[in-house]
């Protein structure tokens, strides 16, 4: 089962590379890049929310910080890869420092605390960088989608690799025991706080990659837009719709979200939000496994039966 998934993943990756090299359709490439950025962000949220069970509502702070640092350094003349690396390191350090007080809050206090933090950072970013950030003319002249496409693809692959590694590692198992039951995890020998902190820092570092991709891809935007709560909301929406705590969930959810939004009538923008908002509610209340569980069931019925690898959800919680 795992091997088959790995082969399918590689096949998909090959197809994505081929698409990036051959397809010139701007609209299609834009959609694909947007999907990959969102999927990377959602995967990073899933590490913290789905694996370690900590519902953060301030995730946009890390996305925004990643975008900001990458963009400033890159447009300031730094080599792009170096800018990204700096952004990842700085954001991870910031997450470490902020995580120590924040992760003492449990459950909803963590959610409320991170929301407050996210909003505070958003307002501050708007105050400090009020002007629009545009690519300068010389960059714009050579701008095409190939660079952002492959960077976003690389970011997504990195995010998925981190998730796969966590799913199989001692660290990841520890995170999941924290999600399931903190008291029982402690009694089993798991250092709960360290595992939460590790999840927080890793999640922030991966979110930075998504932010970097956004900074690379966008021609012009207000720097504080990358800090907007919308990014957190979309990540949360997509993770739950796709299936929280799974590898495929954030990917499926992102594809469904971006494609769905594109296919919906554009004359009534609000309709999309209403649709996804309602879908989200339905998933939380009735189908906590999300799309990936639904897909798993369909595949399981069509092919051979998988041996209980459909990972259930964090949202169900303990009883």
């Amino acid at each position: 089962m795992r091997e088959r998934a790995a082969w399918m993943g590689l096949l998909l990756l090959g197809a994505m590379v081929a698409v990036g090299l051959s397809v010139g359709n701007q609209h299609f490439l834009t959609l694909t890049i947007q999907t990959m950025i969102l999927a990377t962000l959602a995967t990073s949220w899933n590490i913290l929310g789905g694996f370690a069970g900590q519902i953060s509502l301030g995730h946009s702070a890390f996305f925004g910080l990643g975008a900001l640092i990458t963009r400033e350094l890159w447009l300031g003349g730094q080599a792009f890869p170096l800018a990204v690396m700096t952004a990842v390191i700085v954001t991870a350090l910031a997450a470490f420092v902020v995580g120590i007080p924040m992760l003492r809050f449990r459950d909803i206090y963590f959610a409320i605390g991170t929301l407050a933090l996210g909003v505070a950072v958003y307002i501050t970013a708007g105050n400090l960088w009020p002007g629009i950030s545009s690519l300068p003319a010389e960059v714009l002249r050579s701008y095409d989608f190939t660079g952002p496409y492959f960077f976003a693809l690389g970011a997504l692959v990195a995010a998925v690799c981190v998730s796969v590694w966590l799913e199989r590692s001692r660290l990841g198992l520890g995170m999941m025991t924290v999600r399931e039951d903190e008291e029982a995890a402690k009694a089993t020998g798991v250092d709960v706080f360290s595992h939460k902190l590790a999840a927080f820092v890793i999640s922030a570092a991966v979110a930075t990659l998504a932010g970097s991709a956004f900074a690379y891809f966008s021609v012009s935007y207000y720097p504080n837009f990358a800090f907007s709560v919308i990014w957190t909301f979309e990540a949360v929406l997509v993770v739950f719709i796709g299936g929280i705590g799974t590898l495929a969930g954030p990917l499926l959810g992102s594809i469904f979200f971006i494609l769905g939004r594109d296919l919906m009538p554009t004359d009534v923008d609000e309709f999309q939000v209403v649709f996804f908002g309602l879908l989200f509610i339905v998933v939380v209340l009735l189908f906590p496994g999300g799309l990936s569980q639904a897909a798993g069931r369909l595949l399981g019925r069509a092919g051979e039966r998988s041996t209980a690898t459909d990972r259930p959800t964090a949202a169900r919680g303990r009883s």
Partner: protein, 294 residues
């Protein structure tokens, strides 16, 4: 300078009254149902629009339409409970709080989008004949319409406390909030209590919305900001007393307006949020009073 500070103290207290009023409803739904409704600010927004349109279309004064807003949003609250939160309250407390947070988050997105669709994204304010009236003490301006927000908050807190402590219904409500299983065993209809408490919570948000659209302004996107204020107030004050919540609201308003004098207007909210986080980190668990022990 002292003139400026005195004026900001007054504005802060008046705005803080509205913070308290919003938080009353949030405290009620969290305290009784253990439902964390992050769409509370969106209910405020709807109430604000209701008062605005009642004024524009039918010429109803916002104080006259207050009962109407209350009743309509009470009904909307019942509807929301029956369609959504009823299902959330079926799970045990830990899951319930998490799921209510998620469900109301989805609800907030939906309500906000619908508001943009039907009310447009424009900012609206009710401007009555008396909107610009104010009285002046020692050259400090006290706008009447903003003073009304504080007065309504204080009245609402006292009425709520009276209901909670002096009526049979209030007793049942408190019993349910302490331990719903025991309440159910003593013959209290827990689901009915939940329904009414949630509806009153929605109606209180709407009343606050009326005051916001009279003294300040409403637009579809104001929900999250108000929810955050209400959350901060409830977390700081706990669920113990309704008067305490209004006091905490006033304190938050004061902190904000004073910080805008001393640090700068664009950081007034940031200051409040950072202060909140600092306070929270000293008491990371025990804020919602008795709720933490449940």
């Amino acid at each position: 300078m002292s003139q400026l500070i005195a004026q900001s103290i007054v504005s802060g207290v008046l705005l803080g009254g509205v913070y308290g009023l919003v938080a009353l409803g949030l405290a009620l739904s969290f305290g009784v149902l253990r439902v964390l409704n992050v769409a509370h600010g969106e209910l405020l927004m709807l109430g604000g629009y209701l008062a605005f349109f009642a004024f524009r279309e039918w010429g109803l004064d916002p104080f006259v339409s207050l009962p109407l807003v209350f009743v309509v949003m009470f009904g909307f609250g019942v509807l929301l409970y029956l369609c959504l939160f009823r299902f959330v309250t079926r799970t045990e407390t830990h899951t319930r709080i998490k799921n209510s947070l998620l469900v109301s988050f989805g609800l907030a997105l939906v309500l906000q989008a619908l508001a943009v669709r039907f009310f447009t994204a424009d900012e609206r304010t009710i401007s009555t004949a008396y909107s610009s009236e104010a009285f002046t003490i020692w050259s400090i301006r006290v706008p009447m319409v903003r003073l009304a927000g504080l007065v309504v908050a204080i009245v609402a807190a006292f009425v709520l406390e009276w209901v909670l402590h002096r009526t049979r219904f209030g007793k049942a409500l408190r019993a349910t909030s302490e331990d719903w299983t025991r309440a159910a065993l003593t013959g209290i209809d827990v689901r009915r209590i939940y329904q009414i408490a949630f509806a009153v919570s929605a109606a209180l948000a709407a009343i606050a919305g009326s005051m916001v659209s009279l003294g300040y302004s409403v637009s579809p996107s104001i929900g999250l900001g108000w929810t955050l204020k209400a959350l901060i107030v409830v977390v700081l004050a706990g669920l113990g007393s309704m008067r305490g919540i209004v006091v905490a609201g006033v304190a938050l308003g004061l902190v904000e307006s004073l910080s805008s004098v001393w640090i700068g207007g664009q950081y007034r909210e940031v200051t409040a949020l950072v202060l909140f986080l600092i306070v929270l980190s000293f008491r990371p668990l025990g804020f919602f009073g008795r709720a933490a022990g449940a």
